[in-house]
Symmetry: C2
Subunit: 227 residues, 2 copies
Amino acid sequence: MGPVNQTAPSARTTVRRLPDRADYERARVEAVLDEGLVCHVGFVTADGTPAVVPTTYARIDDHLVIHGSPASRMLRSLKDGLDVCVVVTLVDGMVLARSTFHHSMNYRSVVVYGRATEITDLEDKRAALDCLVEHLVPGRTDHARGPNEKELRSTLVLRLPLDEASAKVRTGPPVDDAEDMDLPVWAGVVPVGVAVGAPAPDPDTGPEATVPTHVAGWRRGPVVVAD
Amino acid sequence: MGPVNQTAPSARTTVRRLPDRADYERARVEAVLDEGLVCHVGFVTADGTPAVVPTTYARIDDHLVIHGSPASRMLRSLKDGLDVCVVVTLVDGMVLARSTFHHSMNYRSVVVYGRATEITDLEDKRAALDCLVEHLVPGRTDHARGPNEKELRSTLVLRLPLDEASAKVRTGPPVDDAEDMDLPVWAGVVPVGVAVGAPAPDPDTGPEATVPTHVAGWRRGPVVVAD
C-alpha cells in the first residue's frame, strides 16, 4: 500500500506524521506536480503572520514556476528571496471505514520548500509562460496568440527549485480495528477525480465554432467512472 | 459576472489583487467552505519559516474545525494560539482566451485568518468529529460506529472563528483584448468539477454487501457533464 521510502532531501521535507505515507522519489513528486491544477503558496508576511495564496503553476524540469502581475503582493514578496512553502494536493478518494475514527482520504500531495528567484530574461519568461499554459491545457500554445513584449514585461515570473520537495500518499481501502470488522457497516472507497464538462464557447465566438481537439479532449488525472 | 462587494471584515481579508473578484458576504464564504473537501493551513514555524499543511475540515456555524493526532506538529503549534491562514479553493473551469496572456481559471476560494483554540470538552469534541465526518460524507454518522472515549481522547480538535474570512470568485467566459476578438482561435470555458467513481467495497466486506444510499449517492459541488 505505502510507497517505498527513500531519504528525504532535508530535515523539513522529512514527513513526521504517518511517515509510511512519505515518498521522496523524484518521479512521484514530479507526477503529482504535473497532474495538479492549483498550488497553495505559503509565506510569512512583513508583519510576521502567515499567508497562503492559491495560484496556477507549472513544473519546468527541476523547478516550479508561478506568475502573475507585478502588483501582486505575494510575488513581490517572494522575488526578494523569502522562504516559501508550496503545496499541491490531489484528492483520489473518500475512505469510509466501519468506525468514524478511521475515516480518511486517499490523496497525493507534494510540499516544496525553498526560495524563489525572478526570471527576467524575456525569452526565458516567454518559455516559462508557455509552460504555464501547456501545463494547464496541453496543446494550447499552438492555437492561442502568444505573449507580446508588452505582456511579457507586465508579467512577473518566479522559479522555485525542487531541491527540497517530498510527496505524501495514501492509497487503498480503509484500515479498521479488528473488533470492528464484523459490524454491519459498508466500508470501502468512493473514488474521486476531476470531472470535465462540455466546453462552453465564448458567447462572442458563436456556438458554431468547431471545438478543437486539445479542448474537446481535455482531461486531468486518472479517469474516474460511475457505475 | 463579479459578485456584489461588501466591506471586508479586516485589513488583511481585503482582496487587493483583482478586487472585483472579492466577496465578503458570509453566505458566499459558507457555501465555499461547505463544498470543499480539503483546506490548506498556513502557519509560521518556530524557526520563522512558513509551513502549509493540507487537511480535512468542517464548518460548524461560525467556526472551522480541524482535527488530527495530538502528535501532529501543526495542531500542537496552532492550539497555542499561533496565527493561522486557512485557504479552501474550488476549481470550476479552465478559461481559454484567444491570447495566452488572458488565460485564467474559474474558481471560488476562501481565506480565513485567525487563531485557533482547542476543543477539550469530550461531548463538544464528539459533536465536532461528527461534523467533520458529516461534512465529507453526509449521512455517514448514522451508519458508522462513532468515537469511543479512547478515540476522543486521542484526537486533537481545534476551532477557528470565521470572523476574518473572505471569498474570491471568478466566473464567466474569457475576457480578451478587443484587437484579438477576430483571431481564429476557439475561446471559451471547459467546466471542471468533482468526478465520482463507483464505490469500491473493502475487500474484507465482499462485493455482495449492498451499497447504502449515502455512499451510492455521494456527490460534491455542481454537476459537470460531458457532451
